[in-house]
Assembly symmetry: C2
Homo-oligomer: 402 residues x 2
Amino acid sequence: MIYRPVAGGVTAPKGFKAAGVAAGIKDPTRKELALIYSAVPAGAAGLFTANRVKAAPLYVTKEHLKDGRAQAVVINSGNANACNGSQGLKDAKAMAHEVARLLRLSPENVLVASTGVIGQPLPLVKIIKSLGQAVAALSEQGGRAAAEAIMTTDTRLKEAALQFELEGKVVTVGGMAKGAGMIHPQLATMLCFLTTDAAVTVPCLQEVIHAAAASSFNLLTVDGDTSTNDMLVILANGQAENPAINKRDAAYYLFREAVLKVCTELTVAIARDGEGATKLLEVRVINAASREDAYLAARAVAASNLVKTAIFGQDANWGRIICAAGYSGAKFNPDRIDIFIGTEQVAQNGSMLPFSEAAAAQALAGSKVSILIDFNEGTHEATAWGCDLTYDYIRINAGYRT
Amino acid sequence: MIYRPVAGGVTAPKGFKAAGVAAGIKDPTRKELALIYSAVPAGAAGLFTANRVKAAPLYVTKEHLKDGRAQAVVINSGNANACNGSQGLKDAKAMAHEVARLLRLSPENVLVASTGVIGQPLPLVKIIKSLGQAVAALSEQGGRAAAEAIMTTDTRLKEAALQFELEGKVVTVGGMAKGAGMIHPQLATMLCFLTTDAAVTVPCLQEVIHAAAASSFNLLTVDGDTSTNDMLVILANGQAENPAINKRDAAYYLFREAVLKVCTELTVAIARDGEGATKLLEVRVINAASREDAYLAARAVAASNLVKTAIFGQDANWGRIICAAGYSGAKFNPDRIDIFIGTEQVAQNGSMLPFSEAAAAQALAGSKVSILIDFNEGTHEATAWGCDLTYDYIRINAGYRT
């Protein structure tokens, strides 16, 4: 096995510390402030929401990433710091400045992210007061606390890490993410923070996260809503002492695969923990004429409210699957499409295949439901992840100002 | 008042009869077979789903509309006759042929539509047997029975009709529709059948329904799913004896406005009766830089699961509204947007405006919720219609093979 899963999340790679502390932003009983810190300046790159309305911290982080260097990331939950006008920008900058002061860094080396309710002023004083505690709590075992502190409606913390060898050196990639609602494929689709001790040039880093997100987070959908705060950031501090990855060679692809694996693990964790979800939904489209066709159809099926409610109801309603593929924009011949739920084929050449309702019911009964769509057109494929749509999604989101 | 609402639905215009009868397709206790008949051949035009997967009756109806003439429309509920391969096509043709035989018409003058579950063979024998009864039941008071027979998960039948004067003649436009679920703006978005006794050339008729749908059904969204069966058809039999409308003159625009009014009334009725809906949602975007920007933003806000659940929860969560506008693809300056819920302004220049929660709660408490978004960019506007997303949507759609 090339890649070994390891514990530690964002603090699994060498030279990284993290912390998660309470800050009284929304819920005084919960950790709501996370900090990630690299012992040395790291190469850094990011991806940002495609939403025209962007939260203040995204502007600050983009600005601070211009030099491709960062040494710390500060993240608060409980408040998105979005739609707060010029005050929001000031507050996001103030968070970075206070972290820089405490850690004796240049403010440009501190990245900022927020998640929570939109359009509420950030309780900056509380955050500033708690940053001292966060710095004091920084530890090489702090990945878990940090992952906990970025949760909002998440029911489980999401972290992943793995190790592999690169030219005789052990390299580690770690990550944490938050998700649950307001999630739909379009660039980054939630908050995700990746760390690695690999030495990688910034252009390669940028390319790697772009490619990894394209095959993981961009194929994740919970409710079709793309948030104002979505961000994916990676810090690479070079402490593994591998020869720096600077072009598309074998080492580059090994590293890219590692980042994709961590991203995919986090993507699946987010889908499984979608607001109110009882089932993870995996939609795989194969033998499409192009990657784009496979991608469009897989995303549309995973995003369809009607497919999602059918999965919740454990109903092998394949008509809704072919219907969603039909309006996805993907090009295919409706008379050539085959559909499987689990291993049970339910449609052949676009028409019903008499199938075992018992076998289909069994495929729908578990905590993971797999849909396979064969276009029988070409050689391209894509997998999208989502979840069922349940009473609890309504309960969570009909609640006051989540 | 130029336009007077009248009773009668599709049988309000002169020379039209209709019927709705039971046929034992899915529920023997319900009317499931509708027939519309014009005493004389009528000019006819149609719009069809943008879904790549199209139900069999759409192919037959498109073919039969090629000559721009029709005299009858037969519609069944309880089965979509979609994804049934070549048998589906044969069955749809057989429905048209049997109606033609019974009414002594050419089969090309009979249009066919179906709605219901996808991928189940059509119970053709039952339908054929019941067509005789449908023909026998044809009556000038039959509009209501026909509107009832095309319902699936609809809780209320949907019909509308109005009259106006055109060059000294009384002209009537009537219509019926079915909707509820699997509804999202993209060409026609449900089944809609319009009748008129106006004399109109087929090119004008086609243009008029295209324009009317663009400002009504195309701005209607229930769940983001575009069905395989969506169809809008109009029959104009000329019995009002007005000078034929054949170019864009005053009479043309009077007629077009009448068709738009009937379509808008049916659109609002469908939105209000969205699956599980407790509230009609009306989203109006004003002062946009282009019609397209207004249209995109209005549709996205009305379609957002997060906005829809907030409306259900009667929560003035305007952050979700600006967020949906942000990912809609509409171009606007987030720092210039104003948002109103009812008459209560909740955001100004893209930031929170301290507002009265009591007033907002009142605006959210009724059976109709209005959201107004002012882009402060230009002069264009659009209104979209939808509904809240509720526990009952889940209950209805998690049920077995609806």
